[in-house]
Symmetry: C2
Subunit: 307 residues, 2 copies
């Protein structure tokens, strides 16, 4: 069981863990995503900090998550760090709670509140420092988006990528080379994410469905948790007319590589490849293969799916 700062990465530094949740995670039923969070946080030994700052309903958010974490057998030490303004987020007293936390949970709400009240503040810097020393950082919805260096703060729905269909804002920078979108299927956000990676092809687009999360270890190894899917859009080698397209025009993005990943998939963010897949459903739990074995029947290239 991971506890803040105990596990080490390959390079000897504390193992870094993010749990990025696509919003609307189940809080009443099996709660697979939040159960995973509590487990990562250390279970009974966890000391969780809830950051409800994105929300307009701070008290409800704190009450709801406190109750769920307790039901899922988290430790009794659950604290709240809430910065109600940018000035408040520079208060060193707020930071104390983060110092011996094993995990941080950032709620949903408004991305722009997070960029205003967290990014570049004393509290925000303390979250980054906590992450680096091994504290698990989780966030859902807006709390998911704020984790990367570049955050989608506003945007249009729809499949077709269009120029200037969304707005980027500075995030916390826990991840450098990806951009995260959430409520992905439910709010039809494929177009805006594809448009963003066409304009900034060094960024890998990660779109996360509701009640679904990606767990990222050491900025690199990504696994999927939950009932929905996760899209990865890699436009590094795509051809695009982004420099020329006018506002609102459908964008040319030819040759993007797209990965649709359900639970059971492990994806390497550095090589941008699927490295492992385990089929997870009630009757089959047999398929295990490495990237080298892609031709194996259980993880076959699609063209062989019918053979």
């Amino acid at each position: 069981m991971a506890q803040g700062g105990q596990r080490l990465s390959a390079d000897g530094s504390p193992r870094r863990t993010l749990l990025i949740i696509g919003g609307a995670e189940d809080k009443l039923g099996r709660s697979v995503v939040l159960k995973r969070f509590v487990r990562l946080a250390g279970g009974r030994q966890s000391r969780i900090v809830i950051i409800p700052t994105a929300s307009s309903f701070v008290d409800e958010v704190v009450e709801t998550y406190s109750r769920v974490f307790t039901r899922l057998r988290a430790g009794a030490d659950i604290r709240v760090v809430h910065a109600a303004s940018r000035a408040a987020a520079h208060d060193p007293e707020l930071v104390g709670h983060l110092e011996d936390a094993t995990a941080v949970f950032m709620s949903g709400g408004s991305q722009l509140k997070l960029s205003q009240f967290l990014v570049g503040t004393t509290v925000g810097d303390a979250i980054v420092a906590a992450y680096r020393r091994g504290v698990v950082i989780a966030g859902t919805s807006a709390g998911a988006s704020v984790m990367s260096r570049f955050m989608i703060s506003l945007g249009d729905e729809g499949l077709t990528p269009r120029q200037r269909s969304s707005q980027l804002t500075a995030g916390l920078g826990l991840l450098e080379d990806v951009i995260v979108d959430q409520h992905f299927d439910q709010r039809g956000r494929y177009g805006r994410l594809m448009s963003l990676v066409a304009n900034s092809p060094n960024l890998l687009g990660i779109g996360i469905d509701e009640n679904t999360a990606v767990e990222i270890r050491d900025d690199r190894v990504m696994t999927i948790v939950g009932t929905g899917g996760v899209f990865v859009i890699d436009a590094r080698n795509a051809v695009t007319d982004a420099p020329d397209a006018r506002r609102g025009a459908p964008l040319l993005v030819s040759g993007a590589v797209v990965h649709s990943l359900p639970t059971g998939a492990t994806f390497d963010l550095r090589s941008v490849t699927l490295t492992r897949f385990v089929e997870r459903h009630p009757d089959i739990e047999v398929a295990v293969a490495s990237a080298k074995d892609r031709a194996a029947p259980t993880l076959a290239p699609a063209r062989r799916a019918e053979t």
Copy 2:
């Protein structure tokens, strides 16, 4: 101006032309898609056959399209071929109208009516024969889907590909190796198309937005017309768990190559690559490049978009 049977393909056979429309094409304004159809049909010299069979409102459909085609300066000879049942579609008399047509237009409505009343009937076979001798075949919505050998007849909305989220039915077979979906952006059909090509990776998925069309010459050269975008999903080399996934589960589809194509794009269906792009909007009409010039500034790989 193309007229039925006059232009020849490279191999000396009549040039084959399809205009596959994503539905809801503009009929009152600039009508760029239907204008293109009338032009392909031969303009003033056209002899157009309307097939309203998919629709529940046969008379309205015939009246609407007759009026639009006339406004767009089609020839006065506009006829109707309507098979109200499968038995009726075996009536040789209906076929007479197709014999000297320059173009055929199939309306929207129910895909299943088209598979019932056209595919494999005397009228259906006559459409295929007309196509082979150079008659332009156009269709919108259901009339678009029925053109390929495999047709999506029913399916769910959503981004995330899921197993068994749609139903395939036999189409006319004017195109062999693609599968067409329409109303693509507007009805959020990315998931169902990706699921289908994951299950049948030899088929190329083509998703067409409303008021947008693909024009396909000789089963190979595809250009885009209209205000929306066209998605091509190529899962030939993707890794998938389609053979194992249970009903409704999000599918693993890793490494699909995706192309988002606006007007101005030319795409080779045989090599599955973008071959040419001309930026089309009021203030810029300069970018022309072949696939070999992809590094040229006007058609730069996305990673260079920011340099």
